[in-house]
């Protein structure tokens, strides 16, 4: 470091915080926590905060995808299945609560959800009975999607089905589940989904106060999920996932039970998606098959890819951006949205394979700075303080 230059405290702190992978992650975590817990609630009204809360439920899926796809190399095009199952489990509980005999007294069978009554069902199906209990519902939110992921992964990974074939099968499952939900209208609410959800244990979830509280619950759960993901990626399990992506066969011949490890991370990703789905139902007030099928599942993958599939933080911002874009475009130019999302995906794949998180900011900053200093004062370039670690990046020295 040059002796005459006295870098400001801020710059020195920034350089320290950026110096190692671990401290960078800690800083990113702090920034994310501040953004989610302070900046959004302070600057946004309840309506928009609720919208952000909805977008953030997709961030759960993205965090799961980073672990399972970005690190483990297991591409799932069926995360909507787990998101939807988590959401449906929660919606079934809320629907039963909203269908008490008093408020459904005009039905031919009072006390069951309205869509069942319309479909000539006269008693609550056995499938629905556990969802009278809130603790059982919370367990189901995790166990039903996790269990399905476990079965799928057992059937596939133990038979060495992987890569593209696995992706196609997850996509088929997404198609099957959405068709099943639409087809069995009397049990599931069909294409409309489960709507008119009102209260959670007597607490009105549609009030402004409830929306703010649910936003915070969602944000804290997400931060917890990110912390869990970070602990996984920093452990040897994280390195095993990278190794699986690089050379799966070598991992197998190093004595690791690859199928079981892949299953574990796939189930974990499913549980992330399911928690997101349950929080979606709570914040948006309904659940429908349009969040289960192929298109939403692929949008979830694209959101993660745009943000950066090997960065937990990138994937969260990517989901926010992608869903914000979706809301904006589908209101302003509905017919354009699919083209925009396609273009974004191609752009990410061709130009920034690591997504937004892969863009080397210090380097970009330096290039811009150099450009400016060159145009004004040709000799000023050398004296500018460059963080030492950024200067030593492998390709950083190319003029």
């Amino acid at each position: 470091m040059s002796n005459s230059a006295k870098p400001s405290l801020v710059r020195r702190l920034a350089a320290t915080a950026w110096s190692t992978q671990k401290s960078r992650e800690n800083l990113s975590f702090l920034v994310l926590a501040v953004v989610l817990l302070a900046i959004f609630p302070i600057f946004l009204d309840v309506f928009r905060l609720n919208l952000i809360g909805k977008y953030l439920t997709y961030a759960f899926v993205a965090v799961g995808l980073v672990l399972c796809w970005g690190y483990g190399g297991i591409l799932s095009l069926g995360q909507g299945v787990f998101f939807g199952l988590g959401g449906y489990c929660m919606a079934m509980f809320l629907k039963l609560e909203a269908s008490d005999p008093a408020s459904t007294s005009i039905q031919s069978t009072p006390g069951i959800p309205d869509f069942m009554d319309w479909n000539q069902i006269t008693a609550l199906p056995a499938l629905w009975v556990p969802f009278r209990s809130f603790p059982l519902t919370l367990i189901a939110v995790v166990v039903v999607p996790g269990g399905l992921a476990y079965l799928l992964a057992t059937a596939m990974f133990k038979r060495r089905v992987g890569g593209v074939y696995f992706a196609i099968i997850t996509q088929a499952v997404a198609a099957i589940l959405s068709i099943l939900i639409i087809g069995r209208q009397g049990y599931t609410g069909g294409v409309n989904g489960i709507t008119d959800l009102k209260t959670l244990l007597g607490w009105d979830i549609r009030s402004d106060g409830a929306k703010v509280i649910l936003y915070y619950v969602n944000a804290v759960l997400l931060l917890g999920g990110v912390a869990l993901g970070l602990s996984l990626l920093r452990s040897k399990l994280g390195r095993i996932l990278v190794a699986l992506r690089d050379k799966e066969q070598r991992v197998l011949f190093t004595g690791y039970d690859v199928a079981t490890i892949k299953r574990a991370v796939f189930v974990l990703a499913a549980v992330y998606a399911a928690v997101g789905g349950a929080m979606f139902t709570l914040q948006v007030g309904f659940m429908s098959p349009s969040f289960v099928g192929i298109v939403p599942s692929i949008e979830m993958v694209i959101g993660a890819a745009i943000g950066g599939r090997s960065s937990l933080f990138g994937a969260i911002y990517g989901s926010l951006l992608m869903n914000f874009g979706k809301s904006y475009f589908s209101e302003a130019f509905p017919e354009l949205w699919l083209f925009v999302i396609g273009a974004m995906f191609i752009g990410v794949v061709m130009l920034f394979p690591d997504g937004l998180a892969g863009i080397d900011l210090p380097r970009l900053f330096r290039s811009v700075k150099r450009l400016f200093s060159r145009s004004t004062k040709p000799t000023a370039g050398a004296g500018i303080g460059v963080p030492p670690e950024a200067a030593s990046a492998p390709t950083g020295g190319v003029p």
Partner: protein, 246 residues
């Protein structure tokens, strides 16, 4: 001859759609020394390694390791019994460092739960450093494996096997594509390794085989053609005809 040999392969056959890649092969590997398996292309050498390590299931026959059957076990179970295998193309984890590559192979904490809770201990660090020294990579521990040369990647993969201290090491063409000096270093490395364990080398390079092997098996069209010391094998007219004469 039950436990005299480390690996007993008896009447082993496998066919793919009627094509017999390995045909009624019987082969014994002793507890110590370098055992080379040679043969022209398509002789079934790599298939033989696949059969031993559980990657391919045999149609018929037995593979016994230390007297117990290993056919039908999963690859990872066979590895845990003490059979390490190196692939033909270097397979190391490019995005991990040399240290992390070796640490990954350290034979402990191999379930996903224990891997999540894994903590680096001084013993592991010491062991990794020892192995890195042995494979000539002592000063490159913290470099990413993708920056290594071809030969160094091959050594790293051998090192990743060594850290597990296997009793049987199977190497598929370990010197293919290596420079002359790297070949010499690899030969030295292998003869060191063969003290106290068996090393089976599948190889094309005759000079290399002559330099390192104690025992040679020649395969041809999935069958055993000849067996013995290299200098005897080289004079065998059948071997000369199918292989060495080329």
């Amino acid at each position: 001859m039950n436990n005299e040999f480390l690996l007993q392969i008896e009447e082993l056959s496998v066919s793919f759609d009627g094509f017999k890649a390995v045909d009624d092969l019987t082969l014994y590997v002793s507890k110590e020394g370098v055992h080379a398996v040679i043969g022209p292309n398509g002789a079934g050498k790599t298939t033989l390694l696949d059969l031993i390590t559980g990657r391919t299931r045999p149609t018929k026959g037995h593979v016994r390791f230390k007297g117990s059957e290993v056919t039908g076990l999963h690859e990872y179970q066979i590895v845990r019994k003490g059979i390490g295998r190196k692939f033909q193309t270097p397979s190391v984890y490019e995005s991990l460092t040399v240290f992390e590559n070796l640490e990954m192979a350290y034979p402990d904490k191999r379930s996903w739960v224990s891997a999540w809770r894994f903590r680096r201990t001084p013993e592991i660090v010491k062991r990794v450093e020892e192995i890195a020294e042995l494979i000539y990579l002592g000063d490159r521990l913290h470099e990413r494996a993708e920056l290594l040369s071809h030969g160094q990647k091959q050594w790293l993969e051998i090192g990743a096997l060594l850290i597990q201290d296997p009793e049987l090491l199977l190497l598929d063409e370990p010197v293919a594509g290596m420079s002359v000096t790297d070949r010499a270093k690899t030969a030295e490395l292998l003869s060191g390794l063969a003290k106290g364990r068996a090393v089976v080398v599948v190889e094309h390079d005759m000079d290399f085989v002559k330099k390192i092997s104690d025992h040679v098996t020649v395969l041809h069209q999935g069958r055993l053609l000849a067996e013995g010391k290299m200098d005897v094998i080289q004079k065998n007219p059948k071997v000369v005809e199918v292989y060495l004469g080329h």
